[in-house]
């Protein structure tokens, strides 16, 4: 549950309504609508869900049910540099868990959390399909291949200014 209360601005509400309208306010397009909203806001706070609920006439409880079902959707803002560690099998057998542990230790975060300064967030994901590069770490759009626990410090250093 998101503890953050945000206030939507008029133009945000307008944007959400536009997104819904572009899908004909069709309740069956809920997931596509949520994708677009998450692209716009970076996450899906309760207030956004309430507007979507209104527009698509889907109970907000159902929308929350959908958001908490799909791991792609999030109700907490990601860090400026979201770090994702691939936990696909190829990466796992090549030591992804140790890499993840190292990130957890370095950042003092658990998976799904964001640093207090909003700089980094940590998540694990299932197979980015770069198995030849296993273990793989993504920071934002940048891919790091064949990452060893020792590399973690250096990766983080790249984003420290």
């Amino acid at each position: 549950m998101s503890s953050i209360k945000i206030e939507l601005r008029e133009e945000d509400v307008k944007r959400i309504k536009e997104i819904c309208a572009s899908f004909r306010n069709d309740p069956q397009e809920l997931i596509n609508v949520l994708h677009r909203c998450q692209e716009h806001f970076g996450y899906l706070p309760a207030e956004v869900q309430e507007v979507v609920s209104e527009e698509l006439t889907v109970p907000v409880a159902k929308i929350y049910g959908v958001i908490t079902f799909y791991s792609f959707f999030t109700m907490t803002p990601k860090g400026k540099h979201p770090i994702s560690i691939c936990m696909g099998t190829a990466c796992y057998v090549r030591g992804a868990e140790k890499v993840l542990d190292e990130f957890k230790r370095e950042l003092g975060l658990q998976v799904g959390q964001t640093t207090k300064d909003g700089k980094f967030s940590l998540s694990s994901l299932r197979c980015v399909g770069a198995c030849g590069l296993a273990p793989v770490v993504l920071v934002g759009d940048k891919t790091y291949g064949r990452v060893a626990p020792d590399d973690v410090k250096n990766i983080l250093k790249e984003y420290e200014q």
Binding site: V128, G129, G132, L133, V136, T143, G145
Partner: protein
């Protein structure tokens, strides 16, 4: 491209494309061009294929080599990515793996200019239906 209304329309487009590429495959012919396919699926791009693509495009032009650089999907050689396929006019295609800028440069200078093999060749280890 023109609307396809009949099977003949489709085959016409096919033939146009084939003859165009045949033209470029002719050895020493005026239309002869070096064709380079850069394998740019997710895995290839994650391994740095985009940089290789850009490097090749710029360098080939700079070095005055008439070549076509094509972006394609991945071949599946994840262990050796980024990979590129180079077809010299009239020759069989040759695939190179683990291509970095250094190797790309070598490929231009040695293979493309002189037909001299460089390291990193990945033999074609599959049959393909035609």
């Amino acid at each position: 491209m023109k609307q396809i209304r009949t099977l003949a329309d489709l085959i016409k487009i096919k033939d146009e494309y084939l003859s165009k590429s045949k033209e470029s495959e002719k050895k020493d012919a005026p239309g002869g061009k070096v064709r380079i396919r850069v394998h740019m699926g997710t895995s290839g791009i994650a391994s740095g294929a985009r940089a290789i693509h850009d490097f090749l495009t710029i360098e080939l032009e700079k070095r005055n080599i008439d070549a076509i650089v094509i972006k394609t999907g991945d071949m599946g050689y994840c262990f050796a990515e980024p990979t590129i396929e180079v077809t010299l006019p009239g020759e069989e295609p040759v695939i190179f793996g683990n291509v970095d800028k250094l190797r790309a440069d070598e490929i231009i200078e040695k293979f493309i200019k002189n037909g001299e093999y460089v390291e990193g060749i990945l033999p074609v280890n599959y049959q393909i239906i035609n």
